[in-house]
């Protein structure tokens, strides 16, 4: 290493130390107030997601209960078809929101709340599929209704 590059190296290191010293003096470790503000934001996110998850969980239960209704006529089926389409629409909106939470998830922020939110969305998707099975696809399958009749005679 020649003389010039030695001086440059020292100079560069000096600048780094000086800048770091300055920035540490002026900002340094966040104050308690700054930490509290950050934690408040995390808590807000957790509550926001838990509230959302609770709302979806409630919808999931309501959708499940629809399968216990008796006397479903053609008009009711038409209504249910619209409801299922609307639930699919809701699911796709929620999936987009979940994707937007990826950065938080990667950083491990609000981990449990994100997990609960995702689980509620997954269950919504599953119930939508179950509703279609119960109201439309299974009754159309060969022998399914005959099976029900036979069971009633046992």
């Amino acid at each position: 290493m020649d003389c010039l590059s030695t001086k440059e190296t020292i100079n560069n290191t000096f600048e780094i130390v000086r800048d770091t010293s300055f920035s540490e003096k002026t900002s340094g470790i966040p104050t308690e107030n700054q930490v509290n503000k950050f934690l408040d934001k995390i808590l807000y996110l957790q509550k926001y997601l838990n509230d959302k998850a609770e709302k979806i969980e409630d919808i999931n239960e309501r959708l499940e209960r629809l399968t216990w209704l008796n006397d479903i006529d053609e008009d009711s089926l038409r209504q249910l078809n619209g409801l299922i389409a609307s639930a699919k629409d809701l699911h796709s909106v929620l999936i987009r929101q979940l994707v937007n939470l990826n950065d938080f998830r990667k950083k491990g922020l609000a981990k449990e709340a994100i997990k609960r939110f995702k689980s509620a969305i997954d269950t919504l998707k599953e119930i939508i599929s179950d509703l279609e099975s119960a109201f439309f696809f299974l009754p159309a399958m060969p022998h399914f209704l005959d099976n029900t009749k036979e069971l009633s005679l046992l």
């Binding site: 008796n70 269950t123 119960a134 299974l138 099976n147 069971l151 009633s152």
Partner: protein, 134 residues
């Protein structure tokens, strides 16, 4: 309330229970099905519109996230466990096909008619399920 199961259900239960991720299956089944009244079991998704013999898919509470398919025959006060699958882990699945649902529905009718069933009871400590072939 009497609880029965199909031979296929028992095979599946034995197979899953052996695996580490599914150690909670037995307890989750005990919690949901044993010492419970009919009204408790009339929950989940009813797949066959039947008031008196509902074919039910139930998402079990608990960590396992198991899905159990069963038939209730209300006048006999009996539940027939047909199929179970976990949602996660090596044997996990999001759902089963409509063809599979129709098949187990057909199977349960056949098994009831021929008495090809196991009766499920609990041991004295109520911690283990005992299977007794009919």
């Amino acid at each position: 309330m009497k609880i029965f199961c199909l031979p296929d259900f028992k095979d599946r239960f034995d197979n899953l229970s052996k695996k580490k991720p599914y150690k909670t299956l037995e307890q989750d089944l005990i919690d949901h099905f044993f010492d419970k009244g009919i009204e408790h079991l009339k929950s989940g998704v009813r797949l066959n519109f039947s008031e008196h013999e509902p074919f039910i898919k139930k998402r079990l509470e608990g960590r396992g996230g198991y899905r159990v398919y069963f038939l209730l025959i209300i006048k006999l006060e009996a539940a027939y466990l047909m199929f179970v699958h976990p949602k996660t882990g090596p044997d996990g699945a999001d759902n089963i096909t409509d063809e599979s649902k129709a098949k187990i529905y057909k199977d349960v009718l056949g098994c009831i008619k021929t008495n090809d069933l196991f009766e499920l009871t609990l041991n004295e400590l109520k911690t283990k399920i005992q299977f007794q072939r009919l």
